[in-house]
Point group: C2
């Protein structure tokens, strides 16, 4: 009984995208997230948990789910958390397919080459807050299913679906259905107009912003004006930050979109 060395190696291998892709699974950890998973439509392939956790959770674990009781030491070996939290689940990746109908149902986000896992996790959590249910990611965008992103979403990955797909092809198709807004330092101030919704909001790479190819499809660039831009007359050149953190900028523009939905 207990967890064999093959299972340990298998779970440890899932820290790498290559093996998550091969097996089409990912790892989620902690009492709260796993409880939410068990009440969702996600398929849990394997649960590794401390004895006490299993005893407390029998009622919510489906009969056919494979459950392995592990010791604290074993949980530490398979966990990616600094402080492992009772339970780890290996979960089947959901389908990334979609139909065009979803663009008419509410605002969506597109991420062009976003690289930082913490930023992606925070953006998913913010999208969840504002009721954004779909995020389209360029294939170069950091992987949702890395342990760091999954944990940073604080459970929001359960409600926000991510689709990895080349953005130029996607946007050239949907631009006839909904307006496309792109976050940019050269755009029109967000304070000057109210967006039409539903819409797609495009956020670019942390350093380079939205790529050229994707930009060519964006009709409306939107800017979060800085205090410096405001004083561009040169009256007060005290300087300002060169950029906003990508997750903060995305949050400000999601709030801007959400404001439009509150007015309609």
């Amino acid at each position: 009984m207990g967890i064999g060395s093959n299972k340990i190696k298998y779970i440890q291998s899932l820290k790498l995208k290559k093996f998550r892709d091969r097996h089409q699974v990912f790892v989620a950890e902690g009492d709260k997230i796993v409880r939410e998973l068990l009440q969702s439509t996600f398929q849990i392939k394997l649960l590794c948990a401390l004895h006490q956790w299993i005893d407390h959770s029998r009622e919510i674990i489906p009969e056919k789910t494979e459950v392995i009781a592990v010791s604290t030491a074993e949980l530490e070996r398979i966990s990616t958390l600094k402080t492992p939290n009772q339970v780890l689940a290996v979960v089947e990746k959901p389908s990334e397919e979609w139909s065009d109908d979803l663009f008419r149902q509410g605002p969506v986000l597109a991420l062009d080459d976003l690289r930082d896992p913490g930023n992606l996790g925070t953006i998913i959590r913010t999208a969840d807050w504002f009721g954004i249910r779909h995020i389209f990611c360029s294939p170069s965008t950091t992987d949702l299913y890395s342990p760091k992103v999954i944990q940073a979403t604080m459970g929001s990955f359960l409600r926000v679906r991510l689709h990895y797909t080349p953005l130029p092809a996607l946007i050239s198709g949907v631009q006839h259905i909904i307006p496309i807004y792109g976050a940019s330092l050269d755009g029109r101030s967000m304070y000057e107009y109210t967006p039409e919704i539903p819409a797609m909001l495009v956020i670019g790479n942390e350093s380079a912003g939205i790529g050229k190819e994707v930009s060519s499809f964006i009709r409306q660039q939107v800017k979060i004006p800085s205090a410096l831009m405001q004083r561009s007359e040169g009256l007060n050149g005290t300087g300002t930050a060169e950029s906003l953190n990508a997750a903060v900028a995305a949050g400000i523009l999601m709030a801007w979109l959400h404001g439009a939905s509150q007015k309609h």
Copy 2:
């Protein structure tokens, strides 16, 4: 010549708040930040840098500044960065004193028991973007001068001054000068009104929000409404994130304040 073991120990000790407080200094690293520091009013007590960096930078280093040439290996020993970047500076902490005039000059932020260094760094960077020049922190708020926060601000600590002080006493004094807005899940929707500026915006702890004592001084609680709140009629209970990341919430409300300044 070179860096002695006493200097190495001294610089390493500055990772701890206790020693930063004792010596009233902090550490900042990297070519870009140190160049900005050299052009600022901050006092640099000591520069440790690679030979090449010193050769390239002679013109901008004041004559009386102590400069030590270090090897790559030595820089790695004193650095807190994963990838040390040419130069490390030991810098004198600026004064935290202030006069009441500053409250009339522009919006200010107050942080009540904010704990995460990454969040604090991001909030300082966002404040800088929106031209907020002063942040008041409860004494329990994480230390600006920890290496992680300093680096996360990406140089914005040069333009945004932090003051650690008990907030109830501060706010009870300034509430007669400017309106105090507090971020809260129970407040009035930010979409329903335009704030008066200048103002103070209060952001609370990541889990617990604004503490009771500080809350009692806040006249206007402001809420970033979630999609769930919008559907509180119970028509669509798909759930939503339980909260926003503190730095994202602060960013959204700073953008809200900034919008008011664009209308005046």
